[in-house]
């Protein structure tokens, strides 16, 4: 297939009381990890569910693997794997049974060895014969990921895949996603973890209030935000007052004084002025702009666990 794996043009999804998706445009190329990033309610899941054929759009174009999603989705269903946001496994089946069963629902006879390998990939081999009822939240999530992979999809939708996973499991899953990408498959990763998107995504689209606020590679977005932050640890209100007296735009994050510098060339000069301020501080360092800074500048708020914080 020569064209994009996903093509979205002017996509909207309106409900009587809200515009969940309000004119979204983007494309996803083959082999890309494309991340939709945004707080809860930004419209990520609605967009993804339209692309998964689970919701009908109000208007616009949404093509997946060359097929208009409003038409016969069954033609491409076998080629698409999905881990839904609110995934729950079937309580009375074991992971081994579930994965084998799910494979059959994609018309794929899965051997015991394939099941064992998939469960090993998501670090669930030791729970292969335990009924899902007795799995932890993280283990259930891993089972969901194994299920999404069993049909060997060309396109994989992972909606909040690492929610509920411990840090090690998260990093293991990142490794698995990189491997999937290495096999030439396309991944749509919906997340509210900025570091996850920054680590994994080839391109990121930040969604806010049903629209895409910004789209690009993480490096492009960070460069566009373009700011380096100078941090004066523990400078507090005295530090803020001194900075203002010197005419340096600054803000407080907790007890730390933050000074954002737009251009790399100005960092040395501003750093010198801050270092010379006669206020007690625990330390002084510079911080490269991250997606978090991009998000803050685009949305005007921070995001913690999917919730916007002013």
């Amino acid at each position: 297939m020569a064209g994009p794996v996903i093509e979205v043009r002017g996509l909207t999804k309106h409900y009587p009381d809200t515009k969940a998706v309000d004119g979204v445009d983007f494309e996803v190329r083959k082999g890309e990890v494309f991340s939709l990033l945004g707080p809860n309610g930004a419209g990520k899941t609605t967009t993804v569910e339209i692309l998964e054929g689970l919701r009908a759009p109000t208007s616009g174009v949404a093509k997946v693997l060359g097929h208009e999603v409003g038409n016969d989705y069954s033609a491409i269903r076998r080629r698409v794997g999905v881990l839904p946001q609110e995934f729950e496994p079937f309580d009375r089946l074991t992971p081994a049974e579930t994965v084998a069963y799910w494979g059959r629902l994609f018309d794929r006879a899965v051997s015991k060895e394939q099941v064992a390998r998939l469960l090993a990939d998501v670090d669930l081999a030791h729970k292969a014969k335990v009924q899902a009822l007795h799995l932890s939240g993280g283990e259930k999530r891993k089972l969901g990921i194994a299920m999404s992979l069993v049909g060997e999809p060309e396109l994989l939708f992972l909606d909040e895949p690492t929610t509920g996973l411990d840090p090690k499991a998260r990093r293991d899953l990142w490794g698995l996603i990189r491997r999937i990408q290495g096999e030439g498959r396309t991944v749509i990763l919906t997340t509210h973890y900025l570091d996850e998107a920054e680590q994994l995504a080839d391109r990121v689209a930040i969604m806010h209030k049903g629209r895409i606020a910004i789209i690009g590679t993480p490096r492009e977005l960070v460069a566009r935000a373009g700011k380096t932050t100078i941090v004066l640890e523990g400078a507090g209100a005295a530090g803020l007052a001194e900075a203002q007296r010197l005419g340096v735009p600054a803000e407080l994050e907790g007890d730390d004084l933050l000074v954002r510098v737009d251009h790399a060339s100005a960092v040395r000069e501003v750093l010198g002025r801050i270092a010379a301020m006669p206020v007690p501080a625990r330390g002084l360092y510079t911080r490269r702009a991250t997606l978090e800074d991009v998000f803050l500048s685009m949305v005007g708020a921070k995001m913690e666990d999917g919730v916007l914080r002013p």
Binding site: G53, L105, D107
Partner: protein, 370 residues
């Protein structure tokens, strides 16, 4: 077809693993057949204990009590003459007792001679709401009547014969067993589908399944297939248990085999009703409550355990508005009465209701959102 079979096997595995499913499918009907059979299937007449205070204690009063004993319906035991009979009845929670008055023999003799009272009364103390009361009144009056004939040296003239017009002799369990099978169909198909639809919706299983190649009609067919097979097995187990324990009167022939059709159509009917109820349930808990509100009245009024004619006419009208009534009647016509006319009528009603409920239920059950 492959997906339907896979879905059927996987659902069956989950269903049996819940234990509750296995209980209501096999153990519950077997328990009911064993219990109801034990309560109703015996043909021997029970003997009631009748406490009697004989204040006369003469040849005639003892003869009367011996005649009561000879009926084998009651077994007479004595209340001491010193006891206050009212207190005694209360203290022993008796439903009925009899007192022979002092001077019974003398009064009877005087009455015969025309010098005493025209009537000599025995006194029955009792609670008419208790089942033994009516039996005792009947036995005592029958024995008293025979006594009167003997004293008057007369003989009864008008009597009656009994002619049995039924083609077979039926026991109570013959009637109850098809009702238990019908009730098992209702319990399993309706309760499970109601709870399952609510659970699949709230836990997003429908949405999850919609991401596969499985179609809604394949999912529905797999449920119908599983319940039909499981309930046919339950039917065979119920008949076998009924035959072994109580020698139920169910012939094994082609008409009996029509019960299979009732099972399958019954599954469609109650699975459809379950989907309908599940669509209006907020969560599995409220689904269970809604299923109980519909299921329990149907279980008791749908003719599973007793004949509709035993109920007041207004309750009979309610019973005839219940789908289970027609399934039970149809199963009874196929399994016991071998009545082809009844089978045709009940099958028509059950099939029509099955189409209505199944179409409505499957339309209301949505896998994806608009």
């Amino acid at each position: 077809m492959n997906r339907i079979l896979v879905e059927t096997v996987v659902f069956g595995k989950q269903y049996l693993r819940t234990k509750v499913g296995a209980f209501f499918l096999f153990i519950f009907p077997v328990l009911l057949i064993a219990l109801f059979g034990a309560v109703f299937a015996q043909n021997t007449t029970s003997t009631f204990e009748l406490r009697v205070q004989d204040l006369d204690d003469t040849l005639m009063s003892r003869g009367f009590l011996a005649a009561l004993n000879n009926t084998t319906v009651v077994h007479v035991t004595a209340i001491p003459a010193s006891e206050d009979i009212g207190e005694y009845i209360r203290a022993n929670s008796l439903g009925v007792a009899l007192r022979v008055p002092a001077g019974f023999q003398a009064d009877v003799a005087a009455s015969l001679a025309g010098t005493g009272p025209p009537f000599v009364n025995l006194t029955i103390y009792g609670d008419p709401s208790r089942s033994t009361y009516g039996v005792v009144v009947g036995v005592v009056s029958a024995v008293a009547e025979q006594f009167n004939f003997q004293l008057a040296q007369a003989r009864p003239i008008v009597g009656f014969d009994v002619e049995n017009v039924a083609s077979s002799q039926y026991q109570a369990i013959d009637f109850i067993l098809p009702g238990i099978i019908g009730m098992t169909v209702m319990f399993n198909a309706m309760y499970t589908m109601t709870a399952m639809c609510a659970e699949y919706r709230t836990r997003k299983y429908f949405k999850l399944l919609a991401t596969t190649t499985l179609k809604k009609h394949e999912w529905l067919l797999s449920r119908v297939l599983w319940f039909s097979m499981a309930l046919l097995l339950s039917l065979l187990v119920s008949i076998a248990v009924g035959k072994v324990l109580w020698n139920v009167n169910i012939p094994l022939n082609g008409i009996t085999a029509l019960s299979v059709v009732f099972i399958v159509v019954g599954v469609l009917l109650f699975a459809g009703l379950g989907m309908l109820l599940g669509a209006f349930s907020k969560d599995p808990e409220s689904a269970s409550a809604i299923a109980n509100v519909i299921g329990f009245p149907m279980m008791f009024l749908g003719g599973s355990f007793w004949q509709l004619e035993m109920m007041p006419s207004y309750l009979q009208a309610v019973a005839y508005a219940m789908p289970l009534t027609y399934l039970n009647n149809g199963l009874r016509d196929a399994l016991v009465y071998q009545n082809l006319g009844g089978i045709a009528f009940n099958l028509a009603v059950v099939s029509a209701l099955a189409i209505v409920f199944f179409v409505l239920g499957s339309r209301l059950m949505r896998w994806t959102q608009k």
